[in-house]
Amino acid sequence: MELLCPAGSMPALKAALENGADAVYVGFKGETNARHFAGLNLDAASLREAARLVHSYGKKIHVAINTFAHVKTWDHWRQAVDDAAAAGVDVLIVADIAVLAYAAERYPKMELHLSVQASATNAAAIDFYKQFGVKRVVLPRVLSMQQVRSLARTTDVELEVFAFGSLCIMAEGRCYLSSYMTGESPNTAGACSPAQYVRWDETADGGLESRLNGIMIDRFAADETAGYPTLCKGRFQVGDATYHALEEPTSLNTLDLLPELYREGIASLKIEGRQRSPAYVAQITRVWRQAIDRVMQDPEHFTVQRDWNAVLANLSEGSQTTLGAYHRKWK
């Protein structure tokens, strides 16, 4: 079972390698990947350097080219595939049919993984993508453990699941909430709830109000910790109640499920967070390395160590974690 860690920069990449990642995933600067943030990601030259470094550790490097190509700038996506191939990377993570078809035809030996952005949640959808030679599918964070298990037992394609990090509660790649509010979505601009639309206002009583493109996402009392206004994690009013109508600000943490994921033959555990700091990547990677080693040695007697959870809680949104959709009760 592979530990796949995020790297938004060279220092984060080194942190992942030094702390035990089996593989890292990166993206290019620009709109070809779903973490299109200022100051993040690699250019073609630094990708070559990154690939050399990762390979010197005997590890693998995956490149996410996982947004949907635009009409007039299709060449950017094609170029990204060419640049990744030229850099000698091991895997491309792709969502768009157009990009998959191009990569499969032009680089038939390149290993292709279906990005979570393609939103393949069932065996028939996975079958659809087999025509592009997809070797692995990254599952959306909407499935329960029972559903993951049933998929693992019916498909012959490798499965990768999200193990830790920001929790996207919608079927990825089919969520337009961000463009509804700001005009920019993961599919069209490679980002959700983009930072340039965020506004903070102080209230008379010392609290804070967060807005996204003018829409109030949340209101915090002076003694509350204010979180980033990701639009699905705000407090809104439904009927007479004001609450987190869609989801609380919380992070996904599947440590408890590790033995089961291992038993079902899940190929890879993905840690979310290319936008995070090298220090974050180092700490998370260390914990998950220990946990995966432990479960692989003795899955029957695996228990989650208290200090692991303490580290992870510290690094989570609102210091809270959840099993998310894997756990039926969450739904």
């Binding site: 635009h70 069932n122 993508y129 909407v142 005009g183 979505s185 009013q237 959709a325």
Partner: protein, 303 residues
């Protein structure tokens, strides 16, 4: 320009659904989509009921398509999907690529729903090659995006092999989740939802703490808080959009069809209400309501 009614997105009692389709049969809509696309637990009508209504509507001269589920997670949902795909009589709207897998196996033509991820000429061309006869464009795309896409040489050469359809009226389906937000709004777990969404024939409104309509909860689906209404944009759709989709509302759907048809050439504009939007089509944030009066004036001046 043809008009269609999309599938009913909300959970209505069987009698209400049947009453709605009786009105549809005597309306002058061209095409009707039938079926449950949101939640497989909603079983007021079974496949056989939809099939019977489909036959009645066909006899009334409507083109009928069966719409399939959007978020397919369980093996039982795939078995139900198989039933839709093997119906033998009506074209299926594929709202997940899983449906395309089934349909393509049997070389059947299909409609590609708006939740498929087609954003460029290469993916569109690929699906047309796999039998897509009509493409409902993703809700977040603008007129400019569509025009650019259709003008690509790769598409121009197959343009007569498929139609385009646009979701032009109703609360926009914006997201699907493993979680049921309507059940959550009633403090119920999804497993014990007791199908409470049947109490909300127009979904449940979500407003920001300062009173702006933000979303509408419809089970596992999140919709736009504003009602998308492109009634005053129809004139600019000629040559780009072959079919205009109205999403069934709890009230007045037939009146809206008449209003849309009367304004096909922009001759009978209809002022938008406060809680309506047209942003996506005009390359703006979806929730925006751009001023259409200026636009109309410019068009009149030019003509």
């Amino acid at each position: 320009m043809k008009f269609s009614f999309g599938p009913i997105l909300y959970f209505w009692p069987k009698a209400q659904v049947e009453c709605f389709y009786e009105q549809v049969a005597s309306s002058d809509v061209d095409c009707v989509y039938l079926g449950e696309t949101v939640c497989s637990k909603r079983r007021e009508l079974k496949f056989e009921d939809y099939f019977r209504i489909a036959q009645t509507l066909r006899e009334a001269g409507k083109q009928v398509c069966l719409s399939s589920m959007t978020l397919l997670e369980a093996p039982s949902e795939l078995r139900e999907l198989r039933k839709y795909c093997d119906n033998g009589e009506f074209m299926v709207e594929a709202n997940d690529v899983g449906a395309i897998s089934f349909l393509h196996e049997n070389k059947l033509p299909f409609v590609g729903g708006s939740a498929l991820q087609i954003y460029n000429q290469h993916s569109l061309r690929k699906l047309v090659g796999m039998g897509m006869k009509r493409w409902v464009i993703p809700v977040e795309l603008s007129r400019d995006w569509l025009a650019e896409l259709l003008a690509e040489p790769l598409i121009e050469s197959v343009r007569d092999c498929f139609e385009t359809e646009l979701f032009a009226f109703g609360h926009l389906p914006l997201a699907w989740s493993g979680r049921c937000f309507t059940a959550r709004s009633e403090n119920r777990a999804k497993d014990q939802c007791e199908l409470c969404c049947i109490k909300y024939p127009e979904g449940r409104k979500v407003t920001s703490q300062d009173g702006t309509d933000v979303f509408v909860l419809n089970g596992i689906q999140t919709q736009s808080g504003t009602r998308y209404n492109l009634i005053n944009q129809l004139k600019g759709m000629h040559g780009l959009v072959d079919m205009v989709r109205l999403s069934p509302q709890a009230h007045d759907t037939m009146s809206w069809l008449r209003r849309f048809k009367m304004n096909q050439d922009g001759l009978q504009p209809y002022p938008l209400a406060r809680n309506e939007s047209n942003g996506y089509w005009l390359k703006l944030a979806g929730l925006v309501q751009a001023d259409e009066s200026k636009q109309t004036k410019v068009e009149k001046y030019e003509s």
